[in-house]
Amino acid sequence: GESVGLHLPTLSVQEGDNSIINCAYSNSASDYFIWYKQESGKGPQFIIDIRSNMDKRQGQRVTVLLNKTVKHLSLQIAATQPGDSAVYFCAEKRGGGNKLTFGTGTQLKVEL
């Protein structure tokens, strides 16, 4: 069926290391992907997005990679900081659609 899923429910990294959070999707009709960060008790906060006609996009300390061949999306966070600790969700939008379909989330824990 159509789904967006995350490989790892929890990721622990040392402060200063790079983090990689992965996401799989199954619908080849998806044309837009987005990563959100959600801190406890707060709403999803936009991090970075990418369209299906791209395979890489960079922001400040974050990079999103899209591999359409294997339907895989990843979020890379450089020099991870304690403030990066949160749940990270990937979400996708199907072409011509309006809604976002979210994955189950990955808890990122940054250890000092």
Partner: protein, 114 residues
């Protein structure tokens, strides 16, 4: 930086009661959404709204739910007769017209149905 705001932050209600959750989207945005997140689960789409009408809704969004944009700034979600399983965080989101699919989320309203 403009933000989506939501009120109240926490709503407690008795089963069978009506609740109205309120949102103020970002001022120049034209597309509005409601999502919900049951504790420990992923965020689920409920409904999208554009040009004063529903553009898409999920199977969750049954006849007990309705949305309204009563004025130029507010966007509301009404649940007519709440059930225990309606307990969740409800998030409002908005996005501008054309050129971007980025949806910006509010802080959420925690709805507890007793």
């Amino acid at each position: 930086e403009p933000e989506v705001t939501q009120t109240p932050s926490h709503q407690v209600t008795q089963m069978g009661q009506e609740v109205i959750l309120r949102c103020v989207p970002i001022s120049n945005h034209l597309y509005f959404y409601w999502y919900r997140q049951i504790l420990g689960q992923k965020v689920e789409f409920l409904v999208s709204f554009y040009n004063n009408e529903i553009s898409e809704k999920s199977e969750i969004f049954d006849d007990q739910f309705s949305v309204e944009r009563p004025d130029g700034s507010n966007f509301t979600l009404k649940i007519r007769s709440t059930k225990l399983e309606d307990s969740a965080m409800y998030f409002c989101a908005s996005r501008p017209s054309g050129g971007t699919d980025t949806q910006y989320f509010g802080p959420g309203t925690r709805l507890t149905v007793l």
